[in-house]
């Protein structure tokens, strides 16, 4: 167990408090993407088929995305300093979603600090 202090970015009074975080720090504990991929499906909705187009009634393709997110400790991944991530802290659990992956899926289904969340980009 490793304990880190909040460096003041998100204050101790915040709803999403960073106090202590426990992690084992190994890719070996990463979970498998057990429900992905699945087959795409379609939904009929009033929407734009492409950017700039007028909205109209169309069938849109719906693509399954990962529902069991694998993660690794920071020292186990190679990201450039200026690479973009989307980060969140829930009940002391801290995770960053590299935009390189969110751009692949647009949305993923994860659970952090016991809270089911949908990071989108």
């Amino acid at each position: 167990m490793r304990t880190t202090k909040n460096h003041g970015l998100w204050s101790a009074g915040a709803a999403l408090v960073l106090a202590t975080t426990t992690f084992q720090g190994s890719l070996a504990e990463s979970r498998q993407l057990d429900q992905w991929p699945r087959r795409s499906r379609t939904v009929r909705v009033n929407a734009q088929p492409r950017p700039g187009a007028a909205a109209r009634e169309i069938d849109i393709k719906v693509h399954p995305v990962p529902t069991d997110i694998a993660s690794a400790a920071a020292h186990e991944v190679r990201l450039a300093d200026n690479e973009l991530v989307l980060g969140v802290v829930v009940k002391g659990d801290v995770i960053a979603y590299p935009i390189r992956y969110l751009a692949m899926y647009e949305v993923v289904d994860d659970t952090v600090g016991g809270l089911p969340i949908a990071p989108t980009w």
Binding site: R2, T4, S11, G13, A14, A15, L16, L18, F23, S30, V43, V45, N46, A47, Q48, P49, R50, P51, I60, K61, V62, H63, P64, V65, I69, A70, S71, A72, A73, A74, L79, A80, D81, N82, E83, L84, V85, L86, G87, V88, V89, V90, V94, A96, P98, I99, R100, Y101, A103, M104, E106, V107, V108, D109, L115, P116, I117, A118, P119, T120
Partner: protein, 190 residues
């Protein structure tokens, strides 16, 4: 970033190819409702009009995030590298890069914050010139706006210093969903 739970009901989202206001859609598996990604509300289906709870999240550079949260875990996808996503400046007014993009323009990037009644957008170009953190009153609500140029990020806190839900987005995308939004301009006399 949304919570996938409304009251006791949990949702699982997939990505859909259609758009509303040029912004992507997501569809839940449980009811088949279609939701707007930027707005967080269902636009069709049994959940029509329902808002997803927004949770505070932060988009920033990896260096910025890791500096504050060295214990962070990082999403990985085994067997998939993806393409690193970076921001770099291009000429203002130049077209957005076609997808799949590996860079985005910071010229139109900013922070959007909305209450039930009002919305405001803080362009990074204006935050560059502003004293940070900056106290702004939106309606009756005072907020503090924070900005880090190197980290390519901004966030909002309330009077109790809690981080409030806000969105890093392009100006045009924000105004599509909040056409009455105030766009912050730094007073040059300050």
């Amino acid at each position: 970033m949304y919570a996938r739970r409304i009251e006791d009901r949990e949702f699982t989202f997939d990505f859909a190819e259609g758009l509303i206001n040029d912004n992507l859609l997501i569809v839940d598996r449980e009811t088949g409702s279609v939701w707007s990604q930027l707005d967080g509300k269902a636009i069709s289906g049994p959940m029509l009009g329902a808002p997803l709870p927004v949770i505070p999240a932060m988009q920033s550079t990896w260096k910025f995030w890791q500096t504050f949260y060295p214990e962070t875990r990082v999403m990985v996808v085994e067997g998939e590298e993806g393409s690193p996503y970076l921001y770099r400046n291009r000429k203002p007014g130049a077209p957005r890069p076609a997808k799949p993009a590996t860079s985005h323009d910071t010229s139109f990037l900013g922070l959007g914050f909305a209450t039930q009644d009002q919305a405001i957008f803080f362009p990074f170009s204006e935050l560059d010139k502003s004293p940070i953190p900056m106290r702004v009153t939106l309606g009756e609500q005072p907020i503090d706006v924070h900005y880090d140029k190197e980290g390519l990020t901004a966030w909002v806190t309330g009077p109790d210093r809690k981080v409030l839900p806000a969105v890093l987005t392009y100006r045009s995308g924000w105004l599509d969903f909040h056409p009455q939004s105030i766009v912050y301009v730094e007073d040059p006399r300050r």
